[in-house]
Symmetry: none
Subunit: 89 residues, 2 copies
DNA sequence: ATGCATTTGTCCGTATGTATG
DNA sequence: TCATACATACGGACAAATGCA
C-alpha cells in the first residue's frame, strides 16, 4: 500500500479502468485540500515526487495539477513549486 | 573519445539503443564508487558538468543521480553538490 | 553587507516510442 | 483512428542554498 507525503494510502489506479488516472490523482489531492489536510500556502510534492508516489508518468501528474489549478485550488509557480491557494472549490 | 573527471573514457550511449542512457551514466559512476575510485565524502561533478561530459540533458543526469541516490551510493545537497556516501551497494 | 558564481530544486514545454482500449 | 497513459529524453527558465570575494 503506497502512501503519499501525508502518510495517507494511495488507491491503486488501473489505467484500463473507467476513471481517468489524472482525475483520480486530482480528486485525491482536492479532497485533502478541502478537508484542510493541506493548508493554504503549503507546497505540494514536486511533479516528479508525485509521479513516483503514484507510480504514474509526469504528464499525468501535470494534468492532475492543471485540473486542480483550473478548479482554483492550487497555483504552480515556476521554479518554486505548486501551492495550495484555497481550502475549497 | 570523451573522458570524465577521473580521466576515464566515457562510452558513447545511443539513445535509440536498448541500454537506457541514465542507467549507463548511473552504472558508470556506481562502478567507480564501488571500486573506490570515488572516495566516500568526495563530490561528484556538478549536474551541468556531468551533462556536458556525457553529452546528455541535465534531466538525464538528474535521473542517473536519483538512481544512485536510491541505491544509497550518493546524497545530493542543495547548493553544495552530490557526495559519495558509501563505497558499495 | 553586498554581490556574484556555483549547484541543486522545481516548473514549463516538447518529442519519440510503446501499449491499451 | 484516437485518447489515455506509460517511460525516456531533450532544452529552457526561474528559485533557493551555499560559498566566496
Amino acid at each position: 500500500m503506497a502512501k503519499d507525503d501525508l502518510g495517507q494510502e494511495l488507491p491503486e489506479v488501473d489505467p484500463s479502468g473507467q476513471e481517468l488516472v489524472y482525475m483520480a490523482v486530482a480528486n485525491h489531492i482536492a479532497g485533502q485540500i478541502e478537508r484542510g489536510e493541506r493548508a493554504v500556502g503549503s507546497r505540494l510534492p514536486s511533479e516528479l515526487d508525485l509521479s513516483n508516489m503514484w507510480g504514474v508518468a509526469r504528464m499525468t501528474t501535470r494534468r492532475a495539477i492543471r485540473e486542480l489549478s483550473e478548479r482554483g485550488l492550487v497555483r504552480a509557480v515556476h521554479g518554486k513549486g505548486t501551492f495550495v491557494t484555497r481550502p475549497d472549490s
